[in-house]
């Protein structure tokens, strides 16, 4: 399945029945050098759009919203230890969390790559 995007500049990619979630390269660039990442605990459940994680640069602090409802099954501790990775590979190795979705139709409603590119202009 292809990558989908939210208006909050997050991406979602299905890997089997698990959704991998991260922030877009556009968001990472706007933030500047990322200095701190705070991730939720494995096992925590979130409703769509709830505050789930925090990402900070020197000049900005942003909440990362849960793009879909579900339960956290894995978190990427590598970006907590080395926040710079978020700038290096936001679309790949610097994913944030893996969620077991409770409603996959939420993903269908998101933008595809072309629509997201339009969205950020």
């Amino acid at each position: 399945m292809s990558v989908k995007y939210t208006k909050e500049h997050e991406w979602v990619r299905m890997d089997g029945d698990i959704a991998v979630i991260g922030i877009t390269p556009h968001a990472a660039e706007q933030l500047g050098d990322v200095v701190f990442v705070e991730l939720p605990e494995v096992g925590a459940s979130f409703d769509q759009d709830a505050d789930m994680a925090v990402v900070e640069s020197v000049k900005a602090a942003s909440d990362v919203y849960a793009p879909i409802s579900g339960e956290i099954v894995e978190i990427n501790n590598a970006i907590v230890e080395e926040p710079a990775k978020v700038n290096e590979d936001p679309a790949g190795a610097a994913w944030f969390v893996k969620i077991k979705p409770s409603d996959t139709s939420q993903i269908d409603a998101m933008m595809d790559e072309a629509a997201y590119k339009d969205f950020i202009g």
Partner: protein, 445 residues
């Protein structure tokens, strides 16, 4: 007018460049009927006239140095070396701003880094911030921080916490739905704070030396708090005590707050003072206030910047750890200078000297018929019980040139502690002051 450089010629030339006919044209957005209201205040005055008027007011006060002075209760009279006041009046410190442009504010930033280190060492904690307004607001901020760390809303305060600290904390914490639990104040017996901590408790706030001057070791209380997932906040009002006493960090405190006025700062009728705030490193992102950190510049040289600013209001706005925007800049510089002049040797000796003065004072007052010293142990402040209301005694002694202490009825109004008097001694008190106090007290009782 001596503070204004523009001449009438300048003003006209500038209006021409702007293309305005008059200065009031520049105020065109102010509703015309409200512009230039009549102000019923005197016009400008010469330097000499202002001095005369203000000196006349100052002369109506009794300066502490002109009395036999034994008042503490949260603010202490110490000798401040002349060097301190000279340095803080240097233009580069006095007339600079918050170090937002670090390349031209390294003077401020380096002393803040030194200050943070001194405070961390004194309190026995891992990190300290660049200061708060004063001890009481630092205490309130610590309680709010404990709420963020534990995500709990029940706060236990010791009854022997300085009542101003308790009131400021209550005013701030109750607004956001926190509940305060506090035993009545009293000097007799120990309070069972551990018994008040439950699974909903965010923190327990205690003080040593406490408001009555009693000394505590909170090691066991720290264990009890931690067992319930609550934080221990230790407050102090007399920072010199840390030169002689076991540090709160060693007792297991999670956050330490206190008043730093004693080092480097005058009494100033209550302000400005300097709030000290230290914590365990793992909580640093929940700390309020400014933090200075070490880094390097483009040539690899060591330098300092304000850091972890994303906690603060100018970035996080309504989600900030605090709305605080200033620190106590110059007061914190005064602290840093005085503390570096004292050093280890000086601060430990100063602390013991304060204690010796207080022991002598306690012995002298205990010898006055009808007076009982309540504390077994104390640092430089203790409580005596008098045979009549302390407020009356203090007023009578003021007429005899003795500022005798803080009456229980003023510190804890309506708490039935009217016969208590909280008395402090510092290195500034002479043996003659102490003898004069005891003699005058004997006369008025």
């Amino acid at each position: 007018m001596r503070y204004l450089p523009l001449s009438e010629t300048d003003r006209k030339a500038m209006l021409n460049v702007i293309g305005a006919g008059s200065v009031d044209d520049l105020f065109q957005d102010v509703p015309a009927d409200l512009l230039n209201p009549e102000i019923n205040l005197p016009d400008h005055k010469s330097e000499m006239e202002v001095e005369r008027a203000l000196n006349a007011m100052a002369a109506k006060n009794v300066a502490a140095g002109d009395a036999a002075f034994f008042l503490g209760a949260g603010a202490y009279r110490h000798h401040v070396p002349a060097t301190v006041d000279h340095i803080i009046q240097r233009s580069e410190f006095l007339t600079s701003y918050t170090p937002y442009q670090p390349e031209i504010a390294q003077g401020t930033l380096q002393y803040l880094f030194e200050f943070q280190t001194q405070v961390a060492l004194l309190t026995g904690m891992e990190v300290a911030n660049a200061s708060m307004y004063d001890g009481s607001t630092a205490c309130a901020e610590a309680v709010l921080m404990a709420g963020r760390v534990t995500k709990r809303k029940r706060v236990v305060l010791s009854g022997a916490l300085h009542p101003h600290y308790a009131d400021v904390t209550r005013t701030n914490a109750e607004l956001i739905g926190q509940t305060i639990v506090q035993p009545d104040p009293g000097v007799d017996g120990a309070e069972d704070l551990a018994g008040l901590i439950d699974d909903e408790t965010s923190c327990v706030v205690v003080q040593t030396p406490d408001v009555f001057g009693r000394l505590h070791d909170f090691t066991k209380l720290a264990e009890a708090a931690h067992a319930k997932g609550a934080l221990l906040i230790v407050a102090f009002t007399e920072v010199v005590s840390l030169g002689a006493l076991k540090s709160p960090g060693e007792m297991g405190a999670d956050i330490v707050v206190g008043e730093g006025q004693s080092i480097g700062n005058a009494l100033n009728f209550g302000g400005p003072y300097v709030g000290l705030f230290a914590a365990r490193k793992k909580y640093v992102r929940q700390m309020p206030g400014r933090l200075c950190g070490e880094t390097t510049d483009a040539e690899g040289a060591r330098g300092y910047v304000l850091t972890l600013s994303t906690r603060e209001q100018h970035i996080r706005r309504d989600k900030a750890t605090s709305n605080i925007c200033t620190n106590s800049g110059l007061c914190c510089l005064a602290f840093t200078i005085h503390m570096s002049l004292l050093g280890e040797a000086g601060v430990r000796k100063l602390a013991l000297l304060n204690h010796q003065k207080a022991v002598k004072l306690a012995d002298a007052l205990a010898a006055v018929p009808g007076v009982a010293v309540v504390n077994d142990a104390f640092f430089n402040e203790f409580t005596v019980r008098l045979p009549k209301p302390a407020v009356d005694v203090v007023n009578a002694l003021a007429d005899k040139g003795v500022i005798a202490g803080a009456p229980g009825g003023r510190v804890f109004p309506g708490a039935g502690l009217d016969d208590l008097l909280i008395v402090a001694a510092t290195e500034t008190n002479t043996d003659e002051d102490i003898a004069a106090y005891a003699a005058a007290l004997k006369e008025v009782l």
